[in-house]
Subunit: 170 residues, 2 copies
């Protein structure tokens, strides 16, 4: 039933919107979807038909809109992609929240499995490795602002890093 042909970016956006709105109310309303995505109400109707045909949402004209299990699975995955990318942009690259959000919305359609997994891994690694961590990211922020590395501070930075590790792993 209803082949698993890759969804268009647009359809992914609709699924994601429904997923989010379901979490606010019990079901998504066409008007809210339209608002969320910045399109006309009429456009939503067409998209809903498409998603219904693919078996991703429960929908009939004038009915409530909910995700099917299959739809929820896909929507959840899209949301996961969104969150991972957003996390990377804000936590690692230190991008401003609005820019990060906008970029995540576009990147989430473009980054597939293996790359996403690697990104997750990288974020984890940065949080766990004693040589990385938040203070490395703070150094990065300095580097971004000043455009250069302050070699004089490196020695202290390295010593601090080592001391911190030793105090945490005696």
């Amino acid at each position: 039933m209803t082949k698993k042909k890759a969804l268009t970016e647009s359809m992914e956006d609709y699924l994601e919107a429904i997923w989010l709105l379901e979490r606010v109310h019990d079901a998504a309303r066409a008007k809210d979807i339209a608002e969320h995505l910045g399109v006309q109400r009429g456009t939503v109707t067409g998209a809903l038909k498409g998603l219904e045909e693919k078996g991703l949402i429960n929908y009939a004209p004038y009915s409530h809109i909910t995700l099917t299990p299959k739809g929820a699975e896909i929507a959840g995955e899209i949301n996961r992609r969104h969150k991972v990318i957003l996390n990377f942009l804000t936590e690692v690259l230190r991008i401003a929240p609005e820019t990060a959000e906008a970029t995540a919305c576009r990147m989430e359609h473009v980054v597939e499995g293996t790359v996403l997994d690697r990104l997750v891994c990288f974020i984890d690694f940065v949080h766990q490795c004693p040589r990385a961590g938040n203070d490395l990211l703070r150094s990065f922020t300095n580097y971004c602002e000043s455009g250069r590395l302050d070699w004089d501070q490196c020695q202290t930075c390295l010593d601090d890093c080592r001391d911190r590790f030793q105090s945490q792993h005696p």
Copy 2:
């Protein structure tokens, strides 16, 4: 002349293809553009007209195809985006070349100025900061493969890191 309305992703792809092909021969040929982008020859003709109208390429039916200065500037910028993203994916995230290339092709349309600059900055930082560098990336690769950090090695790693810095900055 010819407003600077944002190019579509498709048009960016054509510009980039012409830019690349110009570097191989003196001018791009419609057939090669079609091949490069995996579309029919007829589709290329339509796209070329669009780019010509925007003043981005020199083109008339049956003529040679070259970029105008304006077109070359944009194409160069797209290519820069591509290279930066590819660099990040391969050098930092250690993604396989083919996957990285494919992802870069899609991401280059989606990542705008500030994010790209930050990415450049991050790559530079990783290459310059004594606490980062290639051996941190090597640790990351290990972490990806084993799924965990080897705390026993952290002490040595930290010491090595410090020694390396001291020997380079006496």
